[in-house]
């Protein structure tokens, strides 16, 4: 991605005003006691500047964090004094001073390589220009970034870089957002002096997601460092030397990482580009919509780039607290599923078993008629894993008005623990995991369940050598971990302080215990949770300043569903159900459903739920509607419509609202603002956008559990990382990924 792009994104994300254009929604914004947090730019730039120099804002809202005030040093960038902590590099000092240094190999989240030499600056008393990315700033250093020497040095570097770079910008997918293109406008010459043949490099096959044109590579090694450091797959390397140097895997092999798509973003040139997006569109034709991802419970911040009615690609947005600037491959590439198997029209299954398209009026009338013939106990509603908070509250309100309270969200099991928010949230927070020094993963494989949380754990393990203990089926976590056991047996041992890992846990300052949401589906989940709580008590994991007892959820809808109280009244309501309302629920087991039950499927994809449906009501996917989702750490975020809805589809909550009208139990809200006011009465935290609302009570007030744990080992909650919901199952790219990358 281009530098300017990153800058604008970062600025936007930090100064996002959440009352948004939709004033009627009346979103709540809490008062923050530290005003610096609301405008980091101004507080960072408030370093005393002499009145004769114009005030400059730091690049990309770069924040200065002083771990120790004594370590502050002052350097001068182009005569402008700036205070920075000790250990910062010259380049970072320049960023704080508001000077953007051109760079290729330097990336703030990767280790420093210092091999592109584009960031050369002049430092007083230094005989040569210095590479600012690798040079630590020293007190009193006088850095000059715009002198003729610095410019000439960069021009020289640029000439060498362009020597072997092909002139294929017109057919390059990076064109328009290419760092080399941008910077050659500033430092490039209009002609080259190189008369020999340009070198060419054989393209590598890195799998179905990343397209390589290795001749364009400028050997910045960002992708190598990303793969090694962030993704944790040591596949890529720099091979050969001199003009034969190239990036590759040596032995031909695919890049088997769940984060591989990010190398497309960090590649400063067009060497690594998106394979599904290749030659599909130019980036300046696209309309960007800032939204969030719903394929897992992390809620990664994304930008949906669309052209007309089509989603063309998905890019990450910077959010330090959730996904930093990475997203998983599933998030990035599942978008082609939005174009396949969509439900366009309301349909009714005829007597011959075939669906017939009907009008909304007829479809709603049929549903309303059937629901009135069924006894209230027989009415059951299931919200799907991609449901937003608005549609879930509408579904619950509607079914309540029909006299039933059998409504839940799939993945949460029949008797979820919805009483205390701390019982189902990632209480440490995703960025809070960086403070932990010992991890205990219970029945969860974060690498496939929540790739961004796994990246955060890996970052912590790499930075602080934190210990990781794992209980569950043997799996490939991409960091060092001890496999303690496979089932509740080991958990009991740890809870009773009989396990060698206990000493590590009790010596830890900030132990983090992460329980997978796959446990929710087990019969003995209360016993497991009480064992985990006793472990947390032993190692003092729940304190006022640190809550290390975490639950890692699986689906985007789960947290909001529990906040809204979607808890079914009876545990076996499916067996006795006569009217089942599936709101995008595809993974709920319908085997025990009576054959005479009437099933309404409301959703956007013709997936598993449709096979049994009697009536289909087409709904909008998350790219087409405005909806609130709460992620696993309790942070509510909203999607925004990027593309129009398909066919005759409508927003989920609107369908239910219309159905309630036809059924004669009109729901009292007509606008999105109305639904959100209703949500505020149930779960006000869902309207605090983009702010994490931690659970207030810890679980210490819970009653003791006397159940016994069964000895069944923990299972895997996500079998196929690339196919977890109706959109990803419809995606061709995800199918290719599962076929090529998951085969052993």
């Amino acid at each position: 991605m281009g530098l300017g792009l990153l800058t604008s994104r970062a600025l936007r994300s930090s100064s996002r005003v959440l009352t948004s254009p939709h004033h009627r929604n009346a979103l709540v914004r809490t008062i923050v006691s530290t005003p610096e947090l609301q405008s980091p730019e101004s507080s960072a730039a408030a370093t005393q500047s002499p009145p004769d120099l114009p005030q400059r804002t730091p690049v990309a809202g770069a924040r200065v964090h002083f771990p120790n005030p004594d370590d502050a040093i002052e350097v001068f960038v182009d005569g402008y004094p700036v205070k920075i902590p000790k250990g910062m590099t010259v380049l970072q000092a320049c960023e704080v001073a508001g000077v953007d240094i051109p760079r290729f190999c330097y990336h703030s989240r990767l280790s420093i390589a210092g091999n592109c030499r584009m960031c050369l600056v002049e430092v007083e008393k230094s005989p040569k220009p210095v590479a600012s990315c690798a040079m630590p700033a020293l007190p009193g250093m006088k850095i000059k970034t715009d002198t003729p020497i610095a410019k000439k040095a960069r021009e020289g570097v640029m000439e060498f870089l362009l020597m072997n770079h092909p002139l294929d910008c017109p057919i390059c997918d990076q064109g328009g957002e290419c760092d080399l293109q941008d910077q050659s406008m500033a430092f490039g010459s209009d002609r080259g002096r190189f008369t020999e043949m340009k070198r060419s490099v054989v393209d590598k096959n890195l799998g179905p997601l990343v397209k390589t044109v290795m001749t364009r590579c400028i050997q910045c090694t960002r992708c190598v460092r990303f793969a090694t450091e962030v993704a944790g797959v040591q596949d890529l390397g720099m091979l050969g030397r001199g003009s034969g140097e190239e990036i590759g895997t040596y032995v031909e092999k695919l890049m088997t990482s769940e984060l591989s798509g990010n190398v497309i973003d960090i590649c400063p040139v067009g060497a690594l580009t998106s394979k599904p997006f290749a030659f599909k569109a130019r980036n300046w034709e696209l309309k960007g919509t800032e939204s969030i991802d719903v394929t897992d419970a992390v809620g990664s911040n994304i930008r949906i780039d669309s052209r007309g009615p089509e989603v063309m690609r998905i890019l990450p947005r910077l959010n330090e607290d959730i996904n930093e600037e990475w997203i998983s491959d599933k998030t990035r590439f599942f978008y082609d599923g939005l174009k396949r198997q969509r439900l366009n029209d309301p349909m009714i299954r005829g007597a011959d078993g075939r669906f017939k398209a009907v009008s909304w009026r007829d479809a709603l009338a049929v549903v309303a008629e059937v629901i009135h013939q069924v006894k209230p106990e027989g009415i059951v509603g299931v919200a799907g894993k991609l449901s937003d908070a608005e549609s879930m509250i509408a579904l619950k309100d509607f079914l309540n008005r029909m006299g039933s309270n059998n409504v839940w969200c799939e993945g949460n099991s029949m008797n979820p623990n919805a009483d205390l928010r701390s019982g189902y949230l990632l209480n440490s927070g995703i960025s809070g995991l960086e403070k932990a020094d010992v991890f205990l993963l219970v029945g969860t494989q974060p690498r496939v369940e929540a790739a961004m949380v796994n990246a955060r754990i890996r970052k912590t393990v790499r930075a602080t050598q934190a210990k990781v203990g794992y209980i569950g089926p043997s799996t490939d976590l991409n960091y060092d971990h001890q496999h303690l056991g496979t089932g509740p047996q080991t958990l009991t041992e740890i809870a009773e302080n009989r396990h060698p890992f206990c000493s590590a846990l009790s010596n830890a300052k900030n132990p983090a215990i992460i329980v997978g949401a796959g446990i929710f589906e087990r019969q003995d989940k209360d016993a497991i949770f009480s064992a985990v709580e006793s472990i947390a008590k032993h190692c003092n994991a729940i304190r006022p300043d640190w809550n290390g007892l975490n639950v890692l959820l699986l689906n985007a809808a789960q947290a909001a569903a529990l906040d809204l109280g979607l808890v079914p009244e009876s545990e076996n309501c499916i067996e006795s159900s006569k009217f089942l309302y599936l709101m995008g629920a595809d993974d709920v087991s319908l085997e025990k459903l009576p054959s005479d039950a009437f099933v309404v499927y409301q959703g956007h994809h013709g997936d598993r739920g449709v096979y049994r449906a009697n009536v289909i009501l087409p709904a909008a996917a998350f790219t087409e509607k405005e909806g609130i989702y709460e992620n696993t750490e309790g942070c509510a975020q909203q999607t925004l419509p990027a593309v129009p809805t398909v066919g005759d589809a409508r927003d989920d909550w609107k369908i239910i609202r219309a159905l309630s009208e036809v059924a004669g139990v009109r729901l009292p809200y007509d606008t999105l603002g109305g639904v959100r006011s209703r949500i505020r009465t149930v779960a006000p935290n869902l309207l605090h956008m983009d702010e994490r609302q931690p659970a207030t009570f810890s679980s210490s007030v819970k009653p003791e559990c006397s159940d016994k744990m069964s000895s069944t080992p923990f299972g895997t909650a996500v079998e196929n990382f690339y196919m977890t919901d109706s959109i990803t199952r419809a995606s061709k790219i995800m199918a290719q990924c599962s076929a090529m990358l998951l085969k052993k």
Binding site: T228, Q234, D235, L236, G237, M238, L239, G240, R241, T249, Y250, V251
Partner: protein, 163 residues
Amino acid sequence: MVQVAKVIEVAPIRVYEVATFYSMFNRSKVGKYHLLVCGTTPCMIRGSREIEDALLKHLGVKRNEVTKDGMFSVGEMECMGCCVNAPMITVADYSTGSEGYTYNYFEDVTPKRVVEIVEMLRRGEKPPRGTQNPGRINCGPEGGNTTLSGDPKPPPCRDLDAC
């Protein structure tokens, strides 16, 4: 290389990186005598290309190929620091196994002289290492010393009192 990676406990790609970077790691089979011609600028100016051509023509192989009898192979390498005696070749001698392994420089070579060296090696003789120019001693100039012939004068500013 995978075995090496296992022994030193790193990812295989890290070993590939190092092995492909240094020309001293031979990733394919070489002859008993691996002849390395320096191709860096000083040697190139002094005619290393002709020397390589002469070797390749004499042995009838291409670069990085082994002769049919497995005796010789020719490769290129980077500057070995004998630029004063350029051009030079290095002979990595594997004929006596890893114990008797030698790595000798032959400097001031000419296309004619390298062929003689090759023939001496083929006969099992040990050609004299170092400069092949009879008019020079080590890296001294041809025909005896031209400078520093007398005693060196003391530096003029050492008399601190005079300053």
